[in-house]
């Protein structure tokens, strides 16, 4: 009897903890959604359940100002960053994991070390480079800087994955007459899908949410990405903060990420290499 009581207590405590964690994690987002559907003075009444429902904020944020344009900029910048980073990382990690050359591990450590610099430390230098390249205030400035910051992580993860691919599969391909290029794209790539999806998704999220570079390297409404645009959303007067619009915009930018994760989560099939070599 006492034992049962103890079990029940433990179980209750466990679920209470789970509920608490989920609550803390989800509440801000829930509140943003709630607020984004309020309008007028409702905005300033604190409620925890939907009391009124209107699309006003969404219509307003999507029809006025440059927000739609910013959204497109974000999609473009994040997608191209992912493609560029993955392309460079795949080829680099093939060399780093499969080609024997001097100073390989030193190079790998250097690549990892690069990612330890805080963004702010390289901001000034990167700014000069971007001015020099003549891409200031274009999406390419952001793509360029995001790719630089994404690469160390991407290269590192893909190198680890590629190193674990059985060497015999590569050798079988060599005997079959495959060049390194064919080995990368036709033999390794299909085996690396889970890693590519994961790193690609993380790179996308990082590029999508990035704020500091976006603020520094763009200067006009037409070239800004969404995080900066939201921060700079302003109301009718200097003293009015358009909470409704900000919340609606926040929900809009979150949705693509949620959708992406949901789509690709199914694609992350573990054990894709099963059957190639023994076991």
């Amino acid at each position: 009897m006492t034992l049962d009581l103890w079990t029940i207590t433990k179980r209750t405590a466990f679920y209470a903890l789970v509920v608490f964690i989920v609550f803390v994690a989800v509440f801000p987002f829930y509140y943003a959604i709630l607020t984004s559907f309020k309008s007028g003075t409702d905005l300033f009444r604190v409620t925890y359940w939907p009391v009124s429902f209107s699309w006003d904020n969404y219509i307003s944020v999507l029809s006025t100002g440059s927000f739609p344009r910013n959204l497109l900029n974000s999609v473009f910048v994040a997608s191209v960053t992912v493609l560029a980073a993955l392309f460079l990382a795949i080829t680099a990690s093939f060399a780093l994991s499969r080609v024997r050359f001097r100073g390989r591990s030193l190079l790998l450590m250097t690549i990892l070390a690069v990612s330890m610099f805080p963004q702010i430390a390289v901001l000034a230098g990167l700014f000069e480079v971007i001015r020099f390249l003549g891409i200031y205030n274009t999406p390419w400035a952001l793509i360029f800087s995001y790719t630089i910051f994404t690469l160390p992580f991407t290269v590192w993860v893909l190198t680890t994955f590629m190193r674990d691919l059985p060497i015999e599969i590569e050798e079988a391909a060599i005997v079959d007459g495959a060049t390194p290029w064919i080995i990368i794209w036709r033999v390794f790539l299909p085996l690396l899908w889970p890693a590519l999806v994961t790193t690609g998704l993380l790179a996308f999220i990082a590029a999508w949410n990035e704020f500091l570079f976006a603020l520094t390297f763009t200067s006009s409404n037409a070239t800004r990405t969404v995080p900066v645009a939201i921060a700079l959303l302003s109301g009718g007067s200097q003293y009015e903060i358009p909470w409704g619009n900000i919340m609606a915009a926040s929900v809009i930018v979150t949705v693509p990420l949620v959708v992406l994760v949901l789509i690709f989560q199914r694609k992350i099939i573990s054990g894709l290499t099963a059957g190639g070599v023994k076991g």
């Binding site: 050798e171 060599i174 079959d176």
Partner: protein
Amino acid sequence: MAHIELKNIRKSFGLVDVIKGVDLEIFSGEFMVFVGPSGCGKSTLLRLMAGLEDITSGEMSFDGTLVNALAPSRRGIAMVFQSYALYPHMTVYENMAFGMQLAKSSKEAIQERVEKAAELLQITPYLSRLPKQLSGGQRQRVAIGRAIVRDPKVFLFDEPLSNLDAALRVATRLEIAKLHHAMNSATMVYVTHDQVEAMTLADRICVLRDGLVEQVGTPLELYENPQSLFVAGFIGSPKMNFLNGEIASKFGANTIGIRSEHIEIADRDGSWKGKVVHSESLGSDSFVYVDIGMSGDPVIVRQEGTRHHNPDDAISIAPIPGKIYRFDAAGKPLKH
């Protein structure tokens, strides 16, 4: 069909010499088996032939053409790996077709060759499956099929059966023997640890030891005329009995060797007295382990049929005259 010649082949990994000057000739259409203790360089030598490793020095030629610097795909070889090494994301058909696709063969030619190889190996029903949907034996057959489709002049096998269980190993061994007959023009080089595979498959066996060729010959030559203590001990199962000391000096040798089937249980002049340590009956024959008061392993005696001996029984064993191998202190055989 290729006549392979190795001349003073050496291979070092950094400072470590692994192959230390191998001279070897493999004839056209021959089935050559490499055996030797673990780490002696069998796989390395095979990979040098495949072109997967660079030769440090020496000359390797196929049909008189130097292949030292030739890429694996241009040597006309196919390799079967111990771990199958199938492409996990391709179906059996695609696995077998990949090499020909890269060589830009026509679709019809590819299909014809793949289907023919699949039929030969009885894997036609699995052509559209992925490797992970196959058993170990089927996977290895696909790997062999992939090699056949390349229509190579030389087949290279690196312990292809060692991941299979005993029954499958026998079946697949038969498959490989049949393959050798079916493609009697192809040269085959086969690395194994398994005595039976070596003895049954080989036209000739090459015994390697520590990066050097110890002896090359037909299975029976190696069995009956080992040119060193090492080969005598390595070829044959159970291992040849070695005796030294006083018993050996009676025969004017440093060490004498005698196979288990050449010892009788008999009490006669020159017989050795001892006691039974252990006995094993395998049905068709039995082995008795006898301690004759020598240091080292007990002497193994083979008898036909089922016989039983109790441990610690006194026993008297005698070598069959003329079946004794005599070796000098350097491990070289002494002439009779």
